[in-house]
């Protein structure tokens, strides 16, 4: 990958999360702290996944095995951060300026921690690829195609967005004791992760199209969960 490709891929994967960070997170220190805390929890889940993968020696070669458990660990840690954030609500009330908004609207905490999860997982999945790729070459000499980098970036973006939406749905479902929504989040995470296994056959369209379909579907769910509706959408567009 060349420098041009490097910037192309970075913009594609981290442009949208960067925009979300700038406009919705950066102005409030408490949100930044929560974002970082969430990323830390995702990292812990990564550590646990890798330890588990490391310990179960006979299945080391099986990507699917590590992947399934990694998804489960991530969801467990999403639950843990939910628990902690709910416990910390009172404390947060004291230190934040616009406590009314942050505490009253529970979706904001969900959104911020989801974005934290997403950004760190996106960074970890793409950084290895991008770091190796500074140089004059592109993929395709021994294996892969030249579309490898751009599809990797697109997949990373997809996971960043999905983590954000999943957290919104997941937190809300836990608040309301809606077990079906929790199961839906876990199973869609599993489904999406398993879909990426198809990448080894280098039919990237077979992965990317379903992935983005799921992103759009999840986004609509999260939108509804957060209090949006078609009517409110129409109203917001009209106001312009």
């Amino acid at each position: 990958m060349t420098v041009v490709e490097f910037f192309g891929c970075t913009f594609l994967a981290f442009g949208p999360p960067f925009a979300m960070f700038i406009f919705t997170i950066a102005h409030d220190p408490v949100r930044i702290i929560i974002l970082i805390a969430a990323s830390f929890f995702w990292l812990l889940s990564l550590l646990l996944s890798s330890l588990w993968w490391f310990m179960v020696i006979p299945l080391k070669g099986q990507l699917a095995f590590g992947l399934v458990f990694s998804v489960l660990f991530q969801e467990v840690f999403r639950y843990l951060i939910y628990k902690i954030l709910r416990k910390a609500e009172n404390g947060l009330k004291r230190i934040t300026d616009d406590s009314t908004q942050l505490i009253e609207n529970k979706h904001i905490l969900a959104y911020v921690s989801g974005l934290g999860f997403g950004i760190i997982s996106g960074a970890f999945s793409l950084v290895n690829v991008v770091a190796d790729a500074v140089g004059p070459a592109t993929m395709g000499l021994k294996s892969g195609t030249e579309m490898f980098f751009i599809t990797s970036a697109a997949t990373s973006l997809c996971f960043i967005l999905l983590h954000t939406f999943w957290s919104v749905i997941f937190f809300n479902a836990l608040d309301n004791g809606n077990k079906i929504q929790v199961a839906a989040v876990v199973s869609s995470h599993l489904l999406v992760s398993l879909l990426t296994l198809l990448n080894r056959y280098q039919i990237y369209s077979a992965t990317l199209i379903p992935l983005y379909a799921i992103v759009i579907f999840t986004m609509m769910c999260a939108f509804r969960v957060a209090g949006g509706s078609f009517a409110s959408f129409k109203a917001s567009v009209k106001l312009q």
């Binding site: 990958m1 060349t2 041009v4 490709e5 910037f7 192309g8 891929c9 970075t10 913009f11 594609l12 442009g15 949208p16 960067f18 925009a19 979300m20 700038i22 406009f23 919705t24 890798s50 330890l51 490391f54 009253e104 609207n105 529970k106 979706h107 290895n128 690829v129 190796d132 790729a133 140089g135 004059p136 070459a137 592109t138 993929m139 395709g140 000499l141 021994k142 294996s143 892969g144 030249e146 980098f149 751009i150 970036a153 973006l157 809300n172 608040d175 309301n176 939108f223 509804r224 969960v225 957060a226 209090g227 949006g228 509706s229 409110s232 959408f233 109203a235 917001s236 106001l239």
Partner: protein
């Protein structure tokens, strides 16, 4: 305590994770790395730079595999996708090709490969007359190396790399066929197989410039841009040089004369780490070692002798006679065999140029029916005539001995420059044109001397045929040894010592095929085959890196001319008797495991051109060799797929559009969020 141990535990786990995870990285999929050592590099002399250099970060070009001249012309005419690096067979590396590639402006490097079906009839990139600046007058009226193209002495503006590996060549060819070798008009629209040659040379212009820059006082962190070429000369005497008792004697009272039997130790070629050097210099070295071995056995019983014999092997002769110039300089400066050291009670007597009675140099000695003695101008005395007559008599059985007309480029040139009255001759298999068609090139390998390894023992050498190089070398060394014996002992040799064929067979094996041969085991230099290329080769190298091959050859000479001593248990020399050096070495080729203490007269002297020692040397004078070698960071070659410009534009466009669109969208959602999302006051989450 608990925290500490838990941190340690985690560290341990993490390190294991890093070490044990399968390290297949994306990078490994993208690049095919080749061993880049066989690249052309830059050398400098007092006025010029020669050789090649890549751009600072490596020169990249699209691969074009060339089999015939037409393929090369085709790509020069139609290539449209940027810089190319043609992969050309060795036959095509000619001055015309280099010139046309230079002028085309489309070429950023060359890769050469050996096509076994088309071995060139002659292949030498050395000059027609080697070392033109350092020879005595009129030497260069003769085109000694008549096929020489002189590319070695050109300043090539792009890197050259030699693929000497069938496997690597196949990879390059396959990649070219898969990605590049179709629809040349639309090449610029697709990703192309490319190669990057990184051989950036730090030095430029010439040696004085480079030395001035390296010594720059303004630079707090001095960087060395070049190293002088050089190494070590090897010498040994047949009879121990008798040390004198008083210091004054060392300087004046030595009326001993010396016959010198010399040859040179080095060759060169277009690319680094490929210096086979079979005819030049290996035939000369093996002949010298075999002669030394035979002479030593012949004189075993002799006590009375006239002149002593010195065996000398010079380093760096390919680059303006570095070794012999230094030897002459040392002799003139009263520093040979060693400087007078006030602490040494019994110094060696000094040897001067006047003390040389006859200088016999062995040059290229591959098989030929004729043998030529090319004498110096002042060899017209009775002693030389007599000596040459002896050589002629002893050569009758295997070659016609003839007189050459002129002194060829050789180490003897330096000695004649120092003392024009010197009588000497160069013994070679040519008169005025080298028979060796591959002089100083990658094709001067074991097939060029028709060598085959027979792995014989002392008792059974019958397998070696009479027309082999081993027999030829044995005959020459017998001729030389018998003539020299008569010259120093003053009587005909009547004993029955013969040259040892198994030793000659083994020596050729050492230098041509297998560095881990029996001789190197015998002199206790094991595992030479595993040493890195640049410290074990027939290229002179730089003085800062010791050349292990020079040491191995020196020890071999010491082994062959040394005596086994039983008394010296520790096998360490006495610093007050510098004439002897002691080494533990195997008893014989057939008895490698029994080591004995050998007392030898072999020594090394520095072979660094006086130009680099004299503080106010005038570089313009051309008096001494001024060759230096540029430093470099690394020599690497890698092949990869270079993305097309169209693909790059596509990627950056998608990335930028996504980025800008998301900025707008997020800003829109943020500013309308109070309308988009119904706040919990109006709607509890459960009802949404």
């Amino acid at each position: 305590m608990y925290i500490k141990s838990s941190i340690l535990f985690f560290l341990y786990i993490e390190i294991n994770l890093i070490l044990l995870s399968n390290g297949e990285r994306t990078k490994d999929q993208m690049y095919e790395h080749f061993d880049g050592r066989m690249s052309c590099f830059r050398r400098l002399n007092a006025t010029h730079q020669i050789g090649c250099s890549s751009k600072r970060d490596g020169s990249t070009g699209i691969i074009h595999y060339v089999e015939e001249q037409e393929d090369l012309n085709f790509i020069l005419k139609t290539g449209s996708a940027g810089d190319y690096i043609p992969i050309i067979p060795t036959v095509l590396l000619k001055p015309e090709t280099i010139k046309s590639l230079k002028n085309s402006g489309k070429i950023s490097g060359i890769v050469i490969y050996n096509d076994n079906t088309k071995i060139p009839k002659h292949y030498s990139h050395e000059l027609k007359c080697p070392n033109p600046r350092s020879n005595i007058e009129k030497t260069c009226d003769v085109p000694w190396n008549k096929h020489g193209t002189g590319i070695l002495h050109d300043d090539v503006p792009f890197p050259i790399y030699y693929v000497n590996n069938e496997e690597d060549l196949k990879k390059i060819k396959d990649c070219f066929q898969k990605f590049n070798n179709f629809s040349y008009e639309t090449q610029y629209t697709r990703s192309l197989c490319s190669i990057e040659l990184d051989a950036f040379m730090h030095a430029t212009t010439d040696t004085p410039t480079c030395i001035r820059r390296s010594n720059s006082k303004t630079n707090l962190n001095p960087v060395k841009f070049c190293d002088p070429l050089g190494g070590e000369n090897v010498w040994a005497s047949l009879f121990p040089i008798e040390n004198v008792t008083a210091k004054n004697d060392a300087v004046h009272a030595n009326n001993k004369k010396y016959i010198i039997l010399a040859t040179h130790l080095d060759t060169t070629s277009m690319v680094h780490a490929a210096y086979p050097g079979a005819v030049n210099p290996i035939t000369g070295i093996v002949t010298l070692l075999a002669t030394a071995d035979l002479l030593k056995r012949m004189v075993k019983e002799e006590v009375q002798y006239g002149d002593n014999i010195l065996f000398m092997l010079f380093s760096g002769e390919t680059y303006d006679y570095i070794g012999s110039q230094r030897m002459v300089y040392d002799m003139e400066k009263d520093e040979f065999p060693m400087k007078i050291d006030p602490d040494i009670k019994n110094p060696l007597p000094l040897i001067h140029l006047d003390d040389i009675s006859i200088f016999v140099e062995l040059d290229q000695l591959s098989k030929n029916k004729q043998l030529f003695a090319n004498p110096t101008d002042s060899s017209n005395n009775s002693r030389m005539k007599n000596f040459m007559q002896k050589l002629q008599n002893y050569s009758k059985s295997f070659a016609t001995f003839m007189y050459g007309s002129q002194l060829p480029p050789s180490s003897l040139q330096s000695f004649v420059k120092g003392n024009s009255n010197l009588s000497g001759l160069v013994l070679a298999n040519y008169r005025s044109n080298y028979l060796n068609n591959y002089y100083n090139s990658i094709y001067d390998n074991y097939t060029n001397v028709d060598y085959q390894y027979y792995n014989t023992t002392e008792d059974n050498t019958s397998e070696i045929p009479f027309d082999s190089i081993q027999y030829y070398t044995a005959n020459i060394s017998e001729m030389l040894a018998r003539s020299l014996y008569e010259e120093v002992i003053n009587k005909r040799y009547e004993g029955d010592e013969k040259p040892r064929l198994e030793l000659i067979d083994e020596l050729y094996n050492c230098y041509l095929l297998n560095p881990d041969c029996k001789v190197h085991q015998a002199i206790q230099r094991k595992k030479l085959g595993e040493t890195p290329y640049n410290s074990y080769s027939f290229y002179v190298g730089v003085t800062v890196v010791p050349n292990l091959l020079t040491y191995a050859i020196g020890l071999t000479l010491g082994w062959l001319t040394g005596d086994i001593v039983a008394t010296n248990k520790t096998c360490i020399g006495d610093p007050h008797i510098p004439v002897y050096q002691y080494f533990n070495m195997s008893r014989s080729l057939d008895n490698l495991n029994t080591t004995e203490c050998f007392r030898t007269t072999m020594n090394f002297t520095e072979a660094l051109s006086p130009a680099f020692i004299l503080p106010d040397y005038n570089w313009k004078s051309n008096k001494y060799s001024s060759w230096s070698e540029s430093t470099w960071k690394d020599l690497t070659v890698r092949m990869f797929l270079k993305p097309s410009a169209a693909h790059e534009r596509f990627t950056i466009a998608i990335g930028s559009v996504t980025f800008i669109m998301s900025l707008i969208l997020v800003y829109f959602v943020k500013s309308r969020s109070h309308i988009l999302f119904v706040t919990p006051e109006n709607c509890s989450p459960t009802s949404c």
